[in-house]
């Protein structure tokens, strides 16, 4: 390893961000780039641990100590190879991953973790800028055909992997654009869409066929699909949002976060909307219900749409600033985090339950009635229960309410129900250890199989699924396994 003393010599440092004043005026990404030297100093902080928890923390099993060392040595081309060995889309995860790797970084026990994600992004961009990332079509074709339903990160990863194994892959996407949540849901300022298209172009040139505006189950029957393809990979995501069924829910001006975010992305693609369809925050009091990442995305978007005031509320209590003793490393840290959107303004409040929506005569929402709650741990049944604090009711002004409370499960009606897919208790596609559903030849991955999760999980799941499908089709697989060693050609 390069520099064992790096972490004692350098502090964690991120690249500069564009000032919040500037960046809310446009939709471009927030971080500026590092110079070469800074990347290398930051990479040299990696301790090359005997047991690198980052490698376990990363759902993809990214070879983090390896690429850190390569960056430290200035060997960028090897670094992108090492990154690509476990991750199809490092330029995505380098931007929008909550970086569980950094949370598990051993330095974070008593210091700031290595800037793994930013190093990953820097490697990717260096590689793209140097034209090192090219289509790499397979050398031979197996003659097997696979359909991938959904073009989000899971579907794309599965498609690229299956294609590399020599199968002929068709990706079906019901939207007009490819990329799933990457293009539809995630705001431009977090992930510029050109980044996604650039990668999809590579996949297309490698031989994967993409069909947009093709809703499987409607545009093509499942029976057709099953007939035409040797295997099907379901990667349609988790799309049914969690709702807040309280009084006043049917007032206008209350929307699901994803509807809001996707419309903004569509606008940036040049699509226009009728006034009555348009969801805009301009000059409005915006309330976001839900304190997670999607909520933060709404916050950033609302500011860019020139909202007059934005409040984000969360039912759970505000996390502590630092880890509590009962939450030691390497457990995921339960601490207060701010995203870049929070730097740009808005209020955040915690331990708040929304009791009802209040509207005006036109049926438009005007305010929320909320109450403060207390979370109490009951030792008897080892459960934490919520109690309202009497007399703490208050009113929040709201012209636009965005519900960002996550997703429940994939859409059942249509394809899944038609195929008579079995669901697990959470309503996700039930699959066996090899990710196969109850129907022969039909596999599932990503949020459709696991429920809503991170992009990095989706890519990992897509890779894993591709390997399983490969084994299903040809008996064994040279595709890499994820997070475990699998002995190839094990015939004893």
């Amino acid at each position: 390893m390069g520099n064992p003393f790096g972490f004692t010599e350098f502090h964690r440092k991120m690249p500069a961000k564009r000032s919040s004043g500037t960046r809310v005026g446009d939709w471009r990404e927030i971080y500026l780039n590092w110079d070469e030297k800074e990347s290398r100093s930051q990479a040299s902080r990696c301790m090359d641990c005997g047991v690198p928890f980052c490698n376990k923390g990363c759902p993809l099993g990214n070879l983090i100590p390896e690429f850190n060392d390569l960056v430290y040595e200035g060997n960028w081309e090897e670094a992108i190879n090492r990154l690509h060995a476990t991750n199809n889309f490092p330029e995505f995860t380098g931007r929008i991953c909550p970086a569980p790797c950094e949370e598990s970084c051993i330095l974070s026990i008593n210091n700031d973790p290595v800037t793994i994600e930013m190093i990953e992004k820097t490697i990717s961009e260096t590689a793209w800028n140097n034209n090192w990332i090219k289509p790499e079509p397979p050398t031979a074709r197996t003659g097997k055909k696979v359909a991938v339903v959904g073009s989000g990160p899971a579907g794309l990863a599965a498609a690229q992997q299956l294609n590399r194994a020599g199968h002929s892959v068709s990706v079906f996407e019901r939207s007009e654009v490819l990329g799933g949540l990457l293009t539809i849901g995630i705001p431009e300022f977090k992930l510029e869409k050109s980044v996604v298209y650039r990668r999809i172009e590579q996949i297309r040139k490698e031989g994967v066929k993409f069909y947009t505006k093709t809703n499987v189950g409607i545009d093509i029957s499942h029976a057709d699909l099953q007939k035409k393809f040797d295997a099907i990979c379901l990667a349609g995501g988790s799309t049914v949002p969690r709702d807040l069924s309280i009084e006043g829910r049917n007032l206008s001006g209350i929307h699901f976060a994803m509807d809001y975010l996707s419309q903004q992305n569509a606008k940036l693609r040049g699509q226009t909307f009728l006034k009555k369809e348009e969801i805009s925050a301009i000059n409005k009091n915006v309330v976001i219900i839900g304190g997670g990442d999607t909520g933060a995305d709404c916050l950033g978007t609302a500011h860019r749409q020139k909202a007059s005031n934005v409040v984000q509320i969360e039912i759970l209590p505000r996390p502590p600033k630092l880890r509590l003793p009962d939450n030691p490393w390497p457990e995921r840290p339960f601490v207060f985090k701010s995203s870049s959107a929070h730097e740009e303004g808005g209020e955040r409040d915690f331990s708040i339950l929304t009791k009802k929506f209040i509207g005006d005569k036109q049926g438009r929402v005007t305010e929320l009635q909320c109450v403060r709650v207390e979370w109490k741990h009951s030792i008897e049944n080892n459960q934490t229960v919520m109690e309202e604090i009497t007399g703490s009711d208050f009113i929040v002004k709201a012209d636009l309410v965005l519900i960002a409370m996550g997703f429940i499960h994939p859409q059942h009606e249509g394809l899944l129900d038609n195929m008579q897919i079995n669901y697990d208790i959470r309503g996700n596609v039930e699959s066996d250890a090899r990710m196969k559903s109850n129907i022969d030849g039909v596999f599932a991955c990503g949020d459709m199989e696991n429920g809503q999760s991170l992009v990095v999980q989706a890519i990992a799941s897509g890779r894993r699924c591709a390997r399983n499908i490969d084994v299903f089709l040809v008996g064994n697989s040279s595709l890499p396994s994820v997070q475990e060693y699998v002995r190839p050609f094990h015939n004893i």
Binding site: T8, F53, I106, R164, E484, Y485
Partner: protein, 1526 residues
Amino acid sequence: MPLNEDVHLPDFSGVEKHGLYIPDLEHDSCGVGVVANIKGKPSHTIIEQGLTVLSNLSHRGATGSDQKTGDGAGILVQTPHKFFKKSMKHLGITLPNQNQYGVGMCFLPQRKDLYDLTINAIESSANKNDFQIIGWRKVPLNKEVIGVSARAIMPKIQQVFLSGPPNVTGDDLERKLYLIRKMAEREVSDKITDANKKELLREFYICSMSSRTVVYKGMLMPDQLGSFFHDLNDGDFVSVFSLVHSRFSTNTLGSWKLAHPYRFLAHNGEINTVRGNRNWMQSREKSLSSKYFGNDIENIKPICESDDPSDTASLDNVFELLRMTGRSVDHVAAMMMPAAWHGNKSMPKEVRDFYEYHGNIMEPWDGPAMVVFTDGNHLGAVLDRNGLRPFRYLVTKDDLLIMASETGVLPIEPSKVKIRSRLSPGKMFLVDFKEKRIVGTEEVLKRLASKKPYSNWLNKNRSILSKITTPNIYSDLDRETLLTKQITFGYTQEDLQVLIKPMSITGHQPQGSMGNDAPLAVLSDKPQNLFAYFKQSFAQVSNPPLDAIREELVTQRAVPVGRRPNIFEETPRHCRTLRIDHPIMTDNELATVKSIKIKGIKTALISTTFEVSKGVNGLEASIKRIQKEAVAAIEDGCTILILSDREVNKRNSFIPSLLSTGAVHHHLIKQKIRAQADLIVESGEPREVHHFATLLGYGASAINPYLAFETIEGLREISGVENEIPNRAQAEENYREAIEEGIVKTMAKMGISTIQSYTGAQIFEALGLSKKLVDEYFTWTISRIDGIGLEEIVQDNILWHSTAYSKDNIPSNLKLDIGGLYFWRSTGERHMWEPETLSLLQNATKRNDRLMFEKFEHASNIEQEKHLTIRNMLELAYSEPVPIDEVEPVIDIVKRFATGAISLGSISREAHETLAIATNRINARSNTGEGGEDPERFFHDPNGDSRSSAVKQIASGRFGVTTNYLINAKDIQIKMAQGAKPGEGGEIPGRKISEYIAYIRKTTPGIELISPPPHHDIYSIEDLAQLIYDLKNVNPSARIHVKLVSVAGVGIIAAGVAKGKGDVVLISGDSGGTGASPLSSIRHAGLPWELGLSETQQVLVANGLRNRITIQTDGQIKTSKDVAIAALMGAEEWGVATGALVAMGCIMLRKCHLNTCSVGIATQNPELRNLFKGTPESVINYFIFLAEGLREHMARLGFRKVNDMVGRVDKLRVRDNITHWKAKTLNLSPILHKAKVLDTDHAFCCVPQDHKLSESIDNKLIAICETAINENETVSSTLEINNTNRAVGANLSGLVAKKTGETGLPNGSINITFRGSAGNSFGAWLARGITFTVEGDANDYFGKGLSGGRLISKPDRDSILVAEQNIIIGNVALYGATGGEAYIRGIGGERFCVRNSAATAVVEGIGDHGCEYMTGGRVVILGETGRNFGAGMSGGIAYVWDPNLSFSKNFNGELSDLLDLDENSNDSDDLREIIRNHYIYTNSTVADNLLTNWKSRIKEFKKVLPREYANILQKKVQGSPDYANT
């Protein structure tokens, strides 16, 4: 003592057949003595004196469980003709004249039919050679004096007298007698059946058969010899010399025949290369022919007695053969045990050439050896090149020569002594009774060197590869094929990044830390190369590892290759060889060999590939093919066979290089033509040190790792701007140097100095290979639990090959496997410590959460298909449960835990003290490690906590080992080896030596510390017994504890430890931790504790020794199930180190050696130390969890007491659900074999050792000194002393330290003068305020550990010797001294002041390796020094009086500078003061002379000053630093 008739005989038949005991691994060591009349005048007095010498060497021998049965004693003398004539006359038989007949001293079976069989064999062999049996004589014996065990297996002892044709005399007569003996032995051996084997092997043996000499020996104690054999007391029983020997064997499965002397020699030491030497002898058998034997040559084969496990027996067999075929005894000795000639400039060229020439004929018999030999007319002695055995001699005015392992073995009037001297390393000594004089080394060698024109022959015939190789020309690298090859040969990313790249940059082996927690090769899912199944063996106790770094001058890398003609002749043809100076060959060197055109050298290329599609059959067929090709090539006259896998391609894969090498090597040995050609391996497979070491070990003379070289170039081409790889030639040179350095170190671990004798020595144990495979291709290698065969090997091979040549080349795949062996990766090799287990244990212990601990245990006790260790394959056989409240309480169980020996220095002060506090609170034991301990910690803290480690370790570095340290120990642990790097010394990088660490260790801050690989006071088992005795004397209340590492034969060593009176023996597994160690040692040396522990339990129980000694085990024990298994296998105490560190926050960064531990544990960096967050509570929680878990297992197993479960392997069983394709080939039943416990015995420790302290002279001393200790009075006295008074002063000093701590008594409080020869360890750990003077001389370890006392040694007042020309003290004086003074008027032995850290010493001449590893103090040498002075000396100052300007050639300047002095020098006054003291205390004439002419004399001094130490001295501020806040 009444004879205890109930004594049971040791019975090994069970454990040998079903268990882990291997009799071949028995060791012995001993005391040797000679008394001779140089003028050749025989007398009976010589015999009596010999017996006296023998009984004064008693303490170098041992007894077993039967206190009256010795390990063996014997005497070799000239044939006492007058006595025999008289005795035979009583039987009515007239003997011919002196030297006209032979006498055979025979051990014969007791059973009548077997007795007859052997008698007939001897008689018929005699008849076949035209000899007649004159008669048989029953040797009169006094059986009453010997032990029951000895008597039970005693053979009949008879002498046969035989005579031949009258014209057969002199050497011819000897040869005939030799032939008769060999034929008789062969005839008996041919008649061995299963029914008679045991008795014939045990009881039939011909001790000697000669006209010149006779051997009396047996399974006796030294003082029994004379009374047992009546003959020896007869006045007519006379000889010119007597050669006596007392044996210390590692166990009591005694054997009469294993006693020394053998026919030609007696030996103290061990031949480490004996396996290889025997193989080479067998290889030569076909080419043997001698004019002296003609067709009879067939009748003397096999040369080495095949059923005799003893190295000495084989040494003697070959010695005898070479003597019988025409060489003189001195010639034979020089040839078999050459001095370190290679690169020795001070040796005359003709002598070097003599040695090099003979190197072409015979490889050295390497190992610590002091051999005394005789053919009846000459008597000589030779000491091995390392000089690791002591040998002192004196000559009196009346021509009596006394030489022995110790001085003082025969009382001689001081006024009669003419010479007192010693044998130095590599030197020889000959008494020629015809010339009636002693012939010294120089003369002996000069005579030998001029026998033939050796130099001339060499110049004309021998080629040197480096001189005929043209410079490197490289072809361009083809990256595509490089990658394919790397995959084919199973390279991983780690091979490139962790091993090959660093080596090509630094020229050194890569280092690592923590232990090996990956699975055994046979349990892994990943494909494994064959090397991974071989574990390096190493020296511990019975022989010392060598110091390949500091004592490099004795190592030799060059090997001659080519054909070895008949060894009985010496012709120019014998050196028509190619000398390869580097066994790792570059591509170019190999190309040169391939195209060589030199007379007498012819090469053949044999392709070692097989057709991969044919699978195992293809592999087997190819092995047969290469064996056949090898034989054909030799028949065709080839002298070098190159085994090459260059032809690997899509169709053909490689035969594992170790397999092809072993297969050819052993096939040629079996064909007895191995000596006709040598093997060179050209392979893509070997890449790390261990690979090369195994290839050499199984017969390769040199190796060309072409793919490793190509890989370096591949890495170089893509390397970034940091960590650049140098140019190609330099990078290859660096790599080669790193590998060779590693090989030399690997050899040194086993005590071997030359690659030539390492070749074929097979110093490995196979783990996980089937017996069938091993017997076929790696014959004589130990493989105890069976395992995989060719079928599984081929599967791994196919996997690599098919991956490499796979059609589906998936873009962006990681082309080479990630590895994950050294550093955990999620897709890499499995590990015991991985994120899940680490976080579970940390959180469980931090939160005191038993449920989480159970989760940890569940994750760790890996089940089903994920075995990592042997114990993972076992389960507890629960039955007959008892209620848990009846099981002994946690509070008692936790006392049995120890943490590992982790030194302060390796870990931070905070971490070290936390461990001590935690263990002391629960009465468990923490361990200082080898770094000493701050004396402040010996006092309790105000809150009642104690930071004093219960176990104080004493390792080879002896850091901070003071009397006060030892007296404050509950256990004193002698570290013989460490699991992570057995056979190597501790290492701590300079960056970890802070001011505080240096203060504790008494060394210099910032300077790397390497401990010597051996304890310089333990080169063999009797030395260990001596150190145990020394330590027990200092602190009689401490348990003396010996730490060993698991390896085949460790049980036998443990038996030796028990006999040497150790109280505890620790069997460490191979997987234990380390602060810094070469990666190849962490991975490849030693064996799991399951094997070592089981073997130890089996051997100790069978020996009847188990109840005297406690067994502890450690090595990645981490769960209560591990503890339960350890107890059931025989350990009543357990060590848990890594787990305890994890409980304190260790996250297995594996950066201990870099000082960058980010959690403040393994670092001395103050900022990082601040990050330490560990608490005693977490550690205590861990131990309590383990104890609670163990209690639950005990309840379910039905045990109420831990002692009840010790050794109960019947409560263990192998899981029945093992389906792992490799794991299921193992046979664990030898581990689970339960040795039969004798009725009177227990399987756990319950009888204290009798250390015989009551017999010590210190009892008298303590009585004399009582008033000095208690009432501050001054005491003086004079006492007699002799060599059996050992460790004199240690007990007294211990008492002083107990009373006064570090301070000691006021100067001059106690003054004792001793007259005579002091025994070993005189003045050991002598405390401040005590002055001991010995008038006479002293043995080894004079002033060992000197802790402030003053020692004076001077010749007896009646002596007529010139003091400065004679030796007065033995080897290894002042080892590890931490204070005090020593004034020695006379010459000292080897390794004077090794590891001295503070004492001031004056001596008038010393042997080799003076001031080695010294870190402090002042040493003044007023005379000559031997070679290699100041090696590893990093502190202190030496002043050497060098009037003849000869010192610089002996000076090792690696770390020090040589400075001139004059009267204006700053140290002039100091030096004069020291010399003045020397004069005052000893009356030295040398000192007197120097002081008189000081101004001119001081200019003749040289000052040796370590460079870094000089810097520190300059910086040093006055006054001692305040360490309280460090």
